[in-house]
Symmetry: C2
Subunit: 199 residues, 2 copies
């Protein structure tokens, strides 16, 4: 990485933390400059506008998610092992990278009724992630590892619900059993698309 890239990376890391705490809407170039003790004009040179900064925070978060969750999970064998790897890496990512709550979950309720380029980018990123899950299901079906009648999009949608419920139970309710519940919900979803074991 060049020096410029390293700086940009460090700034986006801090900006992501701020956005998770205050919402993407609370993230301004002025506020970030103050937090980082950098000049506002220097940050403007990096990001041009508040919206561009917000979009780059989303893209930075998505790039980390792909590196930490998607890429390692896609190395697992097709079918149930790959879906389980996606789920496990996703949980681990929340614990290690988003201890203060998930940027994307927070942004989803914050932006759902705020049309514009930031919302558009979030929707695209969320659809891409749902697609990764659905494609993983479809590849498992093609390989004969998962039931031929499994609905890949429904599985992706339901798995997203499992993670949202986990987030709600662990973050809001401080439910010590949140992760165990998420595991059980995942196993139920997976069992429903797994062919019965040969006897």
């Amino acid at each position: 990485m060049s020096k410029g890239d390293t700086t940009r990376h460090a700034i986006l890391e801090r900006a992501t933390g701020l956005a998770t705490k205050m919402g993407l809407g609370g993230l301004t170039i002025g506020g970030l400059a103050e937090e980082l003790d950098l000049s506002k004009s220097g940050l403007f040179a990096h990001f041009q506008s508040k919206e561009a900064l917000q979009i780059q925070v989303l893209e930075y978060g998505a790039a980390v998610f792909v590196a930490d969750v998607v890429r390692p999970a896609l190395a697992a064998p097709r079918g149930a092992p790959r879906l389980r790897a996606l789920f496990e890496q996703w949980l681990a990512w929340g614990r290690s990278r988003m201890p203060a709550g998930c940027l994307f979950v927070a942004a989803a309720t914050e932006l759902d009724d705020r049309p514009g380029p930031v919302r558009d980018r979030l929707v695209t990123l969320q659809r891409q992630w749902l697609d990764v899950i659905a494609i993983s299901v479809r590849k498992g079906i093609d390989a004969g590892q998962l039931r031929a009648d499994a609905d890949a999009e429904q599985f992706a949608h339901d798995l997203y619900g499992v993670m949202l419920a986990y987030h709600h139970a662990s973050r809001l309710l401080r439910d010590a059993g949140a992760e165990r519940r998420a595991q059980r919900a995942f196993e139920t979803l997976l069992a429903a698309i797994t062919p019965p074991a040969p006897r």
Copy 2:
């Protein structure tokens, strides 16, 4: 209702709309006074503080939810019919009462890391609702309508996830199939705790 109650009711109705749009944190007595063209001192007489106003908005929303969703659903026969009624009324409530998004879903991500009496009240209300679902499952088990090994708390948790996924798909992704997906996810959850039909 007395005149004072009618006024309070009308104010809380508008305040709920505002809180859904701007977040509970954006709801101030000053802002509400401006919106309603009322005097700030008059509103202070009703609500005393910003926090008290926010708590009363949550309680007002919960009271409407009990009247519109919980009470009619609990009139349905025990077991699957009652769980289906809870789910259907919940969906209908979102469509009719929360067309701009759900106050509770928005408050959950907004308040999860903001300790204080408003968060505490939200947690209590959410737990009460999860308890209503879990108790409905347990009564269905006791009546022999649902599987004896059904996990009532897990069902409540999972059903909450179904609604969060529905909210995400309909509000953020504008997925026209969101309600159909929620219906399917609900039927899968229900089938898992329903005893096989006698042959």
